[in-house]
Amino acid sequence: MSQPSSIQRRFPWHILFFLAPGLLIYVTFSVYPLLDTLWLGLFQEDATGQRFFAGISNYQTLLLDAAWSEPFWNALWNNTKFFIIHMLVQNPIGLFLAALLSSPRLRLSNTYRTLIFMPTMLSVVIIGFVWQLLLSPIWGISEGFLYSIGLGQYFDAWLGKESSSLITLALISVWQFVGIPMMLIYAAMLSIPDDLIDASVVDGSNAWQTFWNIKLPLILPTIGMVSILTFVANFNAFELVYAVKGALAGPNFSSDIMGTLFYRTFFGFQLQSGSITMGAAVATLMFLIILVGVMLYLFVVQRRMKRFQL
């Protein structure tokens, strides 16, 4: 910025030194592959493995040919449900826990926080297996538990049923990741000055009114950010379904989401062999979905929710 002009006239080697290594790796292994994928989606391969330009025909197949479009729309719809469940369950619970944790002079607050956040640290794969075991009718631990609290008749092999496997998986994921909205919202709540809360108490509002009228509006930007993080993570999810239900996302693709569809398309499964170019096309569509979400957030949601200077 403020360097002597003698340095500025020479080639700025130091900038290159600082920037080049990181940038090189980032561009080679992130930017280029992404662009290359978008490009690859426009090609097809013939029987000999020869690639040729095919325009948008991959996308036509994917969106219009029943053999491809059915799984695609199924996965997209499932993924949307997956996201909606997170928004309706994970974020409200996170908000609720954060509100409790930020009660003034609460003892053990740190301990609760640390423990509740613990599952978030573990690998999704591990968590998937843990719940697979816990919900397994063979082991019967959940069934036994439900009987002990008088709800035994409601037990079912939830993960194995078409009607409930996706919801169950989503709830497992909610259980694991509730710590993230909790932490971020908690931090936002801590940054609200105490005086503001005191002022609203003096103004006569009870705890609920203070939360609703003062705290919530002030943490709205954080909730917006949590939502977009959830969106990106959900439409990029793969591990949980893969670990619990395999690449086929059974039963009968009822738990198929974009990540598993992408994996199957790319690597093939059972009778169908994998296709690099079709895989690239699916990835491109995922990219577009995420891009639209992020853009909506940046240009609509974030604009509306001004950050209030506290």
Binding site: F17, L19, P33, L40, L133, N236
Partner: protein
Amino acid sequence: MISLPGLKHNTGKTLMTHAVLLTYTVIALFPILVIIVNAFKSRKAIFKDPLALPTLDSFSLEGFEQVLGRADFGLYFGNSMIVTLVSLFFVLLLGAMAAWALTEYKFRGNLFLAVLIAMGIMIPIRLGTVSILNLMASLDLVNTLTALVLVYIAQGLPLAVFILSEFIRQVPKELKEAARCDNVSEYKIFFTIILPLIRPAMATVAVFTMIPIWNDLWFPLILAPGESTQTITLGVQQFIGQYVTDWNAVLSSLTLAIVPVLVLYVIFSRQLIRGLTSGAVK
């Protein structure tokens, strides 16, 4: 006591708060504890009374013996360690260097590069997997840990640059200007003044970089599925896929994957949570 009514009211509320938080804590921990506890029981005891603690009678390490006999968990663990630490080192170093260059120097293309890197925070690198695999194949890096490290560096850099830039911007101008007046080189300013100053931010970045790498299944599965390069996450996944019906083995392998992480978590939870809740990540 005159103020008793008021106090009582508050005590009731506090009790409720504790009750709810405690309940949720149990919900969060119970499933994990059940797995760990049962890993130390004999097959019969696992099924007879899953919620009981292991007794002298039911205590058994057979699961662990099988796991350690059939799969090389030590190797997997070592692979994960190497990949995570090496990636972390480079993400921190290269990330700090890039953040410094982007915030400190004005040059053509500065803004473009900043935006390009910022995009990487939101757009998952996974979407480029098809080409990454091609690329690794042509570089002859498939089934090497190097492939994983390279991808993870690319994955971790954007957030690292973002967070570290925020911190570098807060370093007082006077420090740098004083050094420049003394004719200290730009390299020395960075390595001896800036790097030490942004150490706290590095801790935050480390947390955000490390966890996703350690827990990742996708890239190990695709880029390095070979027996000798499996990470712990992939190893456990493959192992359990193979021995689904062997409950002792499954429970033990899960325990082996969970416990080290939990131990590390308990040790570092303070820093980690401070990192998560610090203002740097908005």
